[in-house]
Amino acid sequence: MPFSITIPRLGWSMEEGTFVRWLKKDGDVVRPGDAVFELEGEKAAQDIEAVDSGILSIPIDAPKPGSVVAVGAVIGFLVADGEAPPNAIKANSSASSSTAMSHAPSAAAIVETTPSRLAEREQAPAAAPSVRRLARERGVSLASLEGSGPSGRIMADDVRTTSTGKVTSMQTYSAKVASPRARRVANELGIDWRRLQGTGRDGRVRERDVRMAKPQSHSSSGSTVVPVSSRRRTIANRMISSREQTAPVTITTHIDATNLVGLRAQFKQAASGSLIPSYSDIIMKLVSLALRQHPLLAARSEGDQWVIPSMSDGLHIGLAVDTEGGLVVPVVRDVGSIGLFELAKQTVALIEKSRAGTLGVSEMQEGVFTITNLGSFGIDAFTPIINLPETAVLGLGRIRREPVVVDDKIVARDQLTLSLTFDHRIVDGAPAAKFLQTVSQAIENPSAWLLRSDG
């Protein structure tokens, strides 16, 4: 059997070389160590020596000088004396050089698949990922566009031009983002997260948004779907934030409001048709006086710090107002330094604006304390929620005449329950209780406290 003469690898990474010329003629006797042919590798041309001996047989389809040859390719044979020389490589190479070629198939496989992949790519128009996203958001099919960029690449402007005029609900509908977890939970609960208002960074829909949303109702159940208004959403978020970010404790006390009722009756008598301060107004003023003695209850948490307002001014107190659209808390400015009638004027104006929906954002900001009154609904005690970033909120119950024991006699007196919720992160129980005690004393003797104040 003839020895095959193969193209050796010169250096580590050579895959093909240039056949330069034969150094022996067809029919020459070749011994091991004889240079047989010249091959140009990556670095330089080199004489290739024979490792076997025999008579050189150069087949008719052997590479011509200058042709590129693959490593491992058979280019000729060494035959024994008298042995018939193979006349072509193709017919003979499979037997004698199959092993030499055996490490090539992976490369061949790649070559085969490449054209079909290219063809696939040619069908899909070229566009940057950001352009693809834009097209998705605007509902534009890339395939329908003529690209104006280099090599026909579709540019953002191509997409914009096409979609002008029909950037309607489609854009707002799908431009929303949700966290992967929110998507998963929405899927599990059968909720369309795209309909939700996100509370995360830049409106990202988070898991909590999904869990707070009700699953879409089925038509057979007969219940109605109430769209969640943005104000409702704001209220919900503020309530949740307060629950999550504070350590709320509510304490209640039952106090005598007979003098408060009497004072208001006096105002009524004296008013003769003009504005009469409400119980809330009077209590708000009294609370501002109590806060001067307990400034910590007026602290606002700002960033990582708690800021206690100056007691001469800046005592802005919020008043919870129930409206059709939900709860709002307008803030009365400088409660500590304005008179009771001025205060009453302001609250009336703020309540009107609240109900009319014309309250400005600045009119709800910078409060240091909030008062909320559920007395008119017959509620005595409740657990108000702290209005962030404030420290405490005072809930007022109804005023009711009740039999009480005074000097061992049962008499009828006006009674009121106060509910104070405070943030235990900032204030401990005892100082909060002392504050409530001060407020109670002020409400039980309102005339004396109001007279003592300069305002």
Binding site: Q46, V51, D52, G72, A100, S179, P180, R183, R201, R204
Partner: protein
Amino acid sequence: MTNQDMAKTCLGLYRKMQVIRQTEEELARCHQRGLIHGACHTYVGEEAIASAVCSHLRTEDVVFSTHRGHGHALAKGLPPKELMAELFGRQTGCSRGRGGSMHLFSPEVGMMGTSGIVGPCILQACGGGYSFKLMKTDNVAVAFFGDGAVNNGAFHEGLNMASIWKLPVLFVCENNQFATEVPFAYSAGNPSVGSRGIAYGMPGLTVDGNDALELHRVASEAVAKARAGGGPTLIECVTYRTRAHAEGMGDFTYRTREDVEEWKKRCPIQRLRTRAIEHGAVTAAEFDAVDHEIKGLVDEARKFAESSPWPEAASATQFAYSEEPVSSKVPVQNHKPTSGREITMTQATHEALSEEMAKNPGIFVMGEGIGQRGGNFKTTTGLFDLYGPARLCDTPICERGFVGLACGAGMTGTRPVIDFMFADFVLDSVGEIVNQIAKIQYMSSGRLKMPVLLRGCIGIGHSAATHHSGNYYAMYAQIPGLTVVVPSSPYDAKGLFKRALNSNDPVIFLEHREILSVKGPVPETEYEIEFGKAAIVRPGRDVTVVALARMVHLTLSVCDELEKEGISVELVDPRTVLPLDIETILQSVKKTGRLLVVDEGFAPCGFAVDVAAQVADRGFNDLDAPIKRINGAFTPTPYSPPLEQAVVPQAETISRAIRELMRE
């Protein structure tokens, strides 16, 4: 020598040389035919050296070799068929297809590996010698290396260590006059290798490397001396390779055809044959019979190799780590007790080391000042008095040297503990760790173990500045074969240290210097912690924080404050960076939906990146917010306290990041 002895010696040497020559000539043919897939460096012309030296070696003696190592392997007893099959990339190869020409392993016959890197074989032979000395055997270790290795630091460090500890090692320099293609005459200030022995306090000889009989005599004396406890010998053998540096490479750009032809005439095989026949010891017919027999052997070998199966592709990663279970019988307790005796992290690892040294006489510690002094960080206090200088071995300042030695010791049956003091110091030896220690088990298809524990301090603090403060765990965690431990508590440190001392794999044990004296509960009973098991340091609900070492303590310090704000943190400490317990982290993120990784190390391609990428991949649908990372600043560590503080994550940085993450 009697004629009969002479005949026996000559035929023995001739046979060994012919096995090498004929096998390599067949390899050259096979290379041209494309049967050899990678590099093939032949030993043609140099056969006398391996043949003469190895004829004095027993199976238990060990040989560490070079990239031109076919001859050493065959002379030490590797059958030609296993060599050929390896170069053909077959399952029956001596390294099961994992090595090729430059990574031939056959520990069964004492062939401890050829190597693609010049130098490490010198240090590994020192390690073999150290093992033999520690185990009180009379075995010897031999390093074969070329002239290219003698101007490398490994030569200097290795010869010095062998000299000061009188190790039973032969350093055999095959001076073939070219380091690849750079002439030795050009690259050596002192071109006499043999004369360098005196610089290290050991005998150094220069011998004609093509004179098999003279080499045989010299090697005999050197081996006998080493066996008798007389210490190492350096032998320079002047020789020449008559084929190109590697098959397929051109030869005449740096030397002439005439030079090569001249040296071919000095062929050691022909020379021995002629001399033996002239001497009347052996007849030409006897030699011809040997030639014929070996031709048959080599033909058989090629057929065997060609018909051998390829390795299973699915087994490509097998043997990167030991498949044998750890040897200890101590119970595994992955979870920390909440109370009990409190000790520091240093005391915890000291206890682990003491307990294991008492049980296993193969454990020895090497490092600077770990002997009588007891270690810079009191890692070995009191142990020198118990176990003496061989098991608590102070070293010269030559990190590459003693880490390379540890590799050889691990391969030959002992268990080195290398104490770097500062992990920064070991960067000089990273090649020994990455190229040798990490890869030996794989290259030897699991037949060699690598039970080496490498420990040192990491971490920024106390103005240690940039050569005493690096965090290198991410770098090592990119190396298959290593285990990387970064403990944060005394309990974890002890359990993981004991695990490491019973593992067959090399372990990099990195101790953050700023938490060495932090106390914590450690039970008095023995226990181990498995690698790749994270600890939930603090359970929580809202956000998962993954942290290591000191960052665990910093994170823990802000958890209570955050809890008051309503943010419940789950703190996970992986404890080992490699293997990484991603499952526990994923479980945690499944619960919390949020992930922050706090990593004192650098950000690019680092620990936090890996955790983040794996969670983004496998935990995508559990994420309710983007994954966030905190890393040390990407800069060398500054000295001045305000600068230093600015490059390390602080407690406030962590709490702020957690709050921010809650708002995402």
